[in-house]
Each structure stands twice: as C-alpha cells, then as structure tokens.
Amino acid sequence: MVIARMADIVKRYGTHLVLDNVSIEMGKGEIVGLLGPNGAGKTTLLFALTGLIGVDSGEIELFGRPLGDNTLETKRRIGFVTQEVSVFQDLTARENLEFFGGIYGLRGPGLKQRVQHALEIVGLAKYANRLPAKFSGGMSRRLNIACALVHAPEFLIMDEPTVGVDPQSRRHILETVRELNRQGTTVLYTTHYMEEVQAIASRVIILDQGHVIAEGTISDLVEQIRHEERIRLEVVDVTEPLLQNLRKLEGVKGVVVEDRIVRITTQVGFGNLDRVLAAASEAGGVLSINAERPTLEDVFLTLTGKQLRDGGEE
C-alpha cells in the first residue's frame, strides 16, 4: 500500500527553483531516509508533502487520496517532527503532550495512556512533570518527537530530528524510530548524518539542488558506484617483490604503502581478494587482508560531488 506519492512536483520561491520535477513514493512500513546537502530542498519537500506549502505543479497523494481532500483528516494520520524544537516552554513535558494529544482528538483515559506511552518511548517518563526549559538539547528534541507521535500516527515525518543532540540521545532517537517502525509506523527521515540513514533506513532518496538524483536500498545505491574496490593488506614486511607481484595483477589500478599496510585499488569483478592474497603469500607473511566496500558516503560524494555537510543554507 502506498502511503505517500509525489509526482512531478515543481516548487519555486520567486525565480529560485527549489523542487524540480520531484517524484517519490513511499510504501507502508518503510523507513525512508531523505539525504541531501543544505539547500537541496529537503524541508521544502516535507512541507509540500504535508500541505504546509503549496506547489507550482505536480500531484501529491497521501493515504491514496489527493492532498487537499479532507486535509484535517489526513493531518490526523500524520506526525510531523519539525527541525526546530516546537514545544511550549511554559508547559511541562506531560502538559505539552496533553495539549498536542488533545488537538488530535484524544480525551480522558485514552489521552493519559497515550501521553504515558509517548513519554516512555522517548525515555522522558521520569521527567514528565519538568518544564522543557530545564531539559538538555537532547531531551528537548526527544520531547519534540514525543509531541508528534502521541496520537500514534500512521506516517511519521522527521525533519533532522537529531541536530545538535548528544550521542546518547541520538541513539535513543534512532532506537525510537526503529521501535515505531516495528509497531507499523511508516517513517520519512531527513538528516545530514549518513550513519543514521545507514542505521535505520530501508530505502534512501538522495536529493540535490531540487532533483532526486538517486533512490533505492543502501546496497542498490552502493552497487551503482561499485566500479572499483579497495583491499587493505597487512604484511610482516613490505618488500619490492611483493609490490611487483601486486602491480602485475590484472585489474589493479594502484598500490599505496603505509608502514606495513598496503592499500590496493582494483577494478571490480576480478576475484581480487583471492588473487591478492595468493600474490602476497608468495612474497611473505600476511597478517590480515580485507576488502573495504564503498559506503553511502562514497555514493553521495560520487553522485553530488560534495560532502553531505557542506553547501549553502536551506
């Protein structure tokens, strides 16, 4: 079942083209990671998807219905974690959740139960009666997330929920996302942090300058750029015959030595690990050998020509 679909979306701010014929689709139960440098159009895409801003052209469907048909009912089924911490500082954590839960139509014991559940999921049950002003950045972010999931949404949209949080809170947030997904929530997760996407996403969409430039599972994306592989070889002693043997191997593009470590760059598809190991064994003692696979970071760099955390302001 398709939860969200955007087809040929174009969005301009004045003359600045922010989304250029963007098409994406999300199925029920997925965790989709939306990656892109600053200014790629990620937040604009999320705002367009939830109807917070209009688009210049294209079609958006949520839960199988065009956006705009019964907007309030659609909003009831979505939880939106904004990039900014958007909680009320003069209400306690529990009161914040009661406010948001109340707007989603929760009342009485049902509301109390959902509030308690949301507090437990984000690990704030012990701090339920404290004001957010007394929270650390990570705790505020977790409360921000709890406010978006207090009504048990079917579709949770998270806009960079871990910006500026400590590693412990980040782990907690990622575990929360996994847990929600296990419970059946579909998640669209934008971030600057590649490792977060690698940790939780079942599928990745890479957005750059308003275009979807790649889409698929992490292994699909890595496969797209697997023109070469790197092998790390650790030997007892680096000798000239060893290096000559390695350089003579078919498909080897480069051999670099760092102390007792030899890094070999080869083309893929030549059974490299076995051949390198054989060549190295002939020349001396091998301590360890392993192939270094391309990462999502490499994919991003190859496709966009830039690191994920550079670029202008969004």
Partner: protein, 225 residues
Amino acid sequence: MAILVVLPLALISVIGLVVGDAVDPALGIPAIDGVAMVIIFAFQLLGGNYTLDFLRSDLFSPRKWRLQALPYPPFCHALSILISSSLFSAFQGFAMVLYTHWVYGVRWGSFLVILGLLLFFSAFNQLVYMLIALSVKTDKLGERLGEVYGLGSFALAGVWFQLPNTLVFNFLARYGNPLSLSRNVMLYIMTGRYGNEALYSLAILLLATTALVTASIYFGRRKLA
C-alpha cells in the same frame, strides 16, 4: 505579566497618598476614584501584549510549522489566544477593581457592569494587538507599535499632561482615544451622570470593534490561511 498588576497598584497607592481625601472638582468624585479608574483602564491598553506575544510566538515563528501540521486550523488557535487573553486581562483588571474597592474604598458602582466593561475593553485591546501581530513583519516592530498605541492613548487622554485647549485636541482628549472612551463610560457607571458622553463613547467603541474584527478577518485570511 505581574508588572501589569504590580505597577498599576503601586501607582494607585502612591498617587492615592498624594491626593488623600481630595475631591476631583471637575468630576465631583473622590480623586482616588478617578486615579484608580484611569490607571486600571490605562493598563488594560497594554494587556493586548498577551495576544501579541502568543500570536507571534505560536504562529509567526518556526513553531508555526508544527501548529500548522496539526488537524486544527490556525485561525482557531488565533481565536483561542484572543479569547483567553481577553479573559485573563479583564480578570486581572477586575482583581485590581476589587482590591482598590476594599483597600482604598473606591466606589465602582455595579461590579457586574464593571466586569462587563472590562471584558469588552479588554477584547477591544486584544483585537488591536492582534491586528498589529497580523500586519507586521518583525516582533520588534509589533512591540513598538503596541507601545505607540498604549502610550499614545495615555497622552491623548491627558494622563500625563493637559493637551492644548483647542477644538481638535479637546475632541481627541474626549473621544479620540480608547482610554477616554472607556473613561467616559466608566464615569457614567460610577456617578450616573455624563450619560450622553457615555453613549457616544460606547457607540464609537462598538464601531471601532466592528472595524477591528473586519480588518482582523481580512489580514487573518491572508496571513494564517
């Protein structure tokens, strides 16, 4: 929040000490009654800051995206802020009315009618500040305009100093600002005299309220849709 209670009560106390048992020769009421009335209603003018603050922080800050993502139209949120702020400011004023009655013996007339007028005047001021919140681009500008409205009304009502004795200034001092309009109505409630002025003032306040509601709807549709 507290300053809108503590400061007026402090002013009433200090000025009350100065005027003692004197009677206002122009109005024929104890001077302390006039002082309490003007100061309590003058601070109602600034009570609109509640609406300004809450509207700007909820619907004109990054938090607006969270609120707009809720299944709840933003105008409902604006309206709830307007109503809550009106009630809060009016009851704040009413608490001061009761305090000045019990402590200083100010004769307010019917408390129910005073409460009604406070509710109306408070809602009027919240509407003014709502219009400001809807029509400015920055919070600072909103605050400055709010100050201009409040302090400008004090000045026009002759709270600080007597305005020049000309036809225009006399009109402005009597009917040309919300503080004078509410004072005219209050004088009638307290003394049973000045009925015509009270009627005209009430009519002007009602007309102005209608204009404010219309303008708020117009700007609200543009800014909160």
